[in-house]
Amino acid sequence: MAQILVWADHDGAVLKDATRNAVTAAAQLGAVHVLVAGSGVAGVAQAAAMISGVAKVLVADDAAYAHGLAENVAPLILGLMADHDAFVAPATTTGKNIAPRVAALLDVAQISEILSVEGPKRFTRPIYAGNAIATVESSDAKLVITVRGTAFAKAGDAGSAQIETIGTTGDRGQSSFIGAEVATSERPELTSARVVVSGGRALKDAPTFEQVLFPLADRLGAAVGASRAAVDAGYAPNDCQVGQTGKIVAPEVYIAVGISGAIQHLAGMKDSKIIVAINKDEEAPIFQIADIALVADLFEAVPALTASL
């Protein structure tokens, strides 16, 4: 049976849900070993060991891995790939940063953001902002893959894998972590929320964006997203951007407020179960994919909606 190495995405303390989607994809290829690389990550390793379908957790605990620096973790993964047939990472910013570095070191063509496993070396993946789906087959001896989270179910918590501590490869001394501005929010995480309320350029400025959208999001227990235009204009932070080049979401309900529906935005949310659009322009492209459309001025409609829920 093939041995698959899965990158555990975490922030040093908490295992990210995207890891669970990657495990589900990896389990279709072989036995799943999860790599937890970081500093002080015993808790993350425990959480990874509980994921259903995981056979083994490998823990590399070293200050050099504290912030997932690609220069330091790629050699670690490269060493482990001697005993594995595939490296699978969630298509998070960490996974996207590391996987191609590993692929090049292995001399393997990476397959980015797979949507399905069609065979041992055959996958589907989106191209052109999801306007086309390619079925590709690899001819490489080993595979390097990133997994689009919304396309695979999250593996549950019924596992009890053994945890093995592995040796480390140290600090390459080429890069160091200086600091982070991490957005903190009481709201659910954007990519795993059941409901998402997103705002676009029409929201005018940051205070208006908050005043109009946050009460609705809080009433619905929703995460807040944004179009690129809203992020560029500073209404919302970069980690809220939904789209081809931002986050990919597929909640049960996506409410697009004052968003026109450019293909780059649709790429990030068109797999949502139900799409609700509020826009004053009845010709807005967002209405072509909306399940429920309301043509209205958002500054009247959204407060009224919030008040009646």
């Binding site: 690609a70 910013t93 990476q110 989106p126 890069s175 970069n238």
Partner: protein, 248 residues
């Protein structure tokens, strides 16, 4: 310091891609093609570094068909100094592109290599990281800010949780995100000047790189289409629908 900026010619972001009826790919015949938007941001950043006196020369490189000359000329018109076109009529995968760029980088010894984080056609998001690996140099991906400090560069990255800043030793590879800058439009004098800037044409064989694809594309198909929705007359109608769905 020399800056190298690899760029790609892609279907313009305003054009809706159409899948060919025979499932062999996306129809690009007569479609408007442009410089990949993320690469445009990379060119802009390099030109600004030159204007600030931090960079001495901006070299742009494209691997692609003869027509990729157009996007190289665009980059030259924005202020790049010199271009190399590595001409190849077949599609070249990110790994082979990275190998070609590796040879060029070994030859040209740039202090900084700036690339777009992804090409908006194949959405691979790979070349920068692969090139960094092959050169054994550090990488700063998805950059929204870049500050050169002596023999280091500070790169602020757009990550899932917000922003993070890394310090990389030069030479380094940096890939651009949308917020790094707003690219300029090429001026008319810039366009005129670009016509006489040097553009060398090479082939992958000149660099000893085998570009045989590792992946076979078996089929390209349309994504599932969403069924038509309903229009509600007012907020009250929307509330009824949301209640039916169990959202409210």
């Amino acid at each position: 310091m020399k800056i190298m900026v690899p760029v790609k010619r892609v279907l313009d972001y305003n054009v809706k891609p159409r899948v060919k009826a025979d499932g062999s790919g996306v129809d690009l015949a007569n479609a408007k093609m442009s410089l990949n938007p993320f690469d445009e941001i990379a060119v802009e950043e390099a030109v600004r570094l030159k204007e600030q006196g931090i960079a001495s020369e901006v070299l742009v490189v494209s691997v692609g068909q003869a027509k990729a000359q157009d996007v190289l000329r665009t980059a030259l018109a924005m202020g790049a100094d010199r271009a190399i076109l590595v001409q190849c009529d077949t599609e070249v995968e990110p790994l082979a592109i990275a190998k070609i760029l590796q040879v060029i980088a070994d030859d040209e010894a740039p202090g900084l290599i700036l690339l777009g984080k992804q090409a908006i056609d194949d959405d691979s998001n790979q070349v920068g990281q692969m090139l960094a690996a092959l050169l054994g140099r550090p990488q700063g991906t998805f950059a929204s800010k870049l500050v050169v400090e002596g023999d280091h560069v500070l790169v602020t990255r757009e990550v899932d949780g917000g922003l993070e800043t890394l310090r990389l030793s030069l030479p380094a590879i940096v890939t651009t995100d949308l917020r790094l800058n707003e690219p300029r439009y090429a001026s008319l004098p810039g366009i005129m000047k670009a016509k006489s800037k040097p553009l060398a044409t090479k082939t992958p064989a000149d660099y000893g790189v085998d570009v045989t694809p590792r992946l076979t594309t078996l089929k390209v198909s349309e994504p599932a289409v969403r069924g038509a929705g309903i229009r509600v007359a007012d907020v009250a109608g929307l509330v009824v629908k949301l209640r039916e769905l169990g959202v409210a």
